[in-house]
């Protein structure tokens, strides 16, 4: 059983500006990787999704990679 990435690295607040971390949870098309594959806790997965969406709005991450 793989451990949650954020608790393993002692990250309490998932920041939308930290693009390097958020990129780990995107698939090659730029979609958010599912809860099942990331093995992140439900709470962190929700925070992760909102952080990715904020980063997308401000042009730090793409909506789609063609």
């Amino acid at each position: 059983m793989k451990q949650d990435y954020f608790s393993a690295n002692n990250i309490k607040y998932i920041d939308y500006k930290d693009v390097e971390i958020l990129k780990k949870f995107l698939n090659p098309n730029g979609k958010i990787v599912s809860h099942k594959r990331t093995s992140v806790t439900s709470k962190n997965q929700r925070a992760l999704a909102s952080a990715v969406k904020r980063a997308r709005f401000l042009g730090l991450l793409p909506f789609v990679v063609k």
Binding site: N9, I11, D15, D18, R54, R56, L58, G59, L61, P62
Partner: protein
Amino acid sequence: MLKAENEEKNEMDENGNSRIYELGYLLVPTVPGEDVPAVFGNLKELVSSLGGVVISDEMPKMMPLAYAMVKITANVCNKFKTAYFGWTKFAMDSDKVSELKKKLDLNPNFIRFLIIKTVKENTIAAKRFVRGEMRRRPRADKNSESGTTVPINKDEIDKEIDALVAT
């Protein structure tokens, strides 16, 4: 429960009404490089004029956008592929934030901005520290291993030679 209480304390200031917010924004790339600090200063003044206390911030930096953004100014459609991205973290009265938003909406220098609720702690530095630590550890291990293995090898070779001589 304790954690939740601590988080609430972070969000709520002594006054009870003020919260921690973060404003992330994209400035129009047509702003000349020398004027960026002035725009940044004006923004800080605007936050403090509405009773906000700036906690931390970062100077707007030129960066490529992940996709082209469109902004309509004076009935002209402008497409941007680069922008200055900056952010400011501040404590402000929850009633004043909507006023701040209204003022920023009228500012022609912004392509987009985003106001979010956040926590007082620095959210970026902690992560960088973790990453740095992860990188350093294997290097240190390799050095210590190479340092200690050399004398052990010599001893082992001596013993082996002795054993061969004895036989």
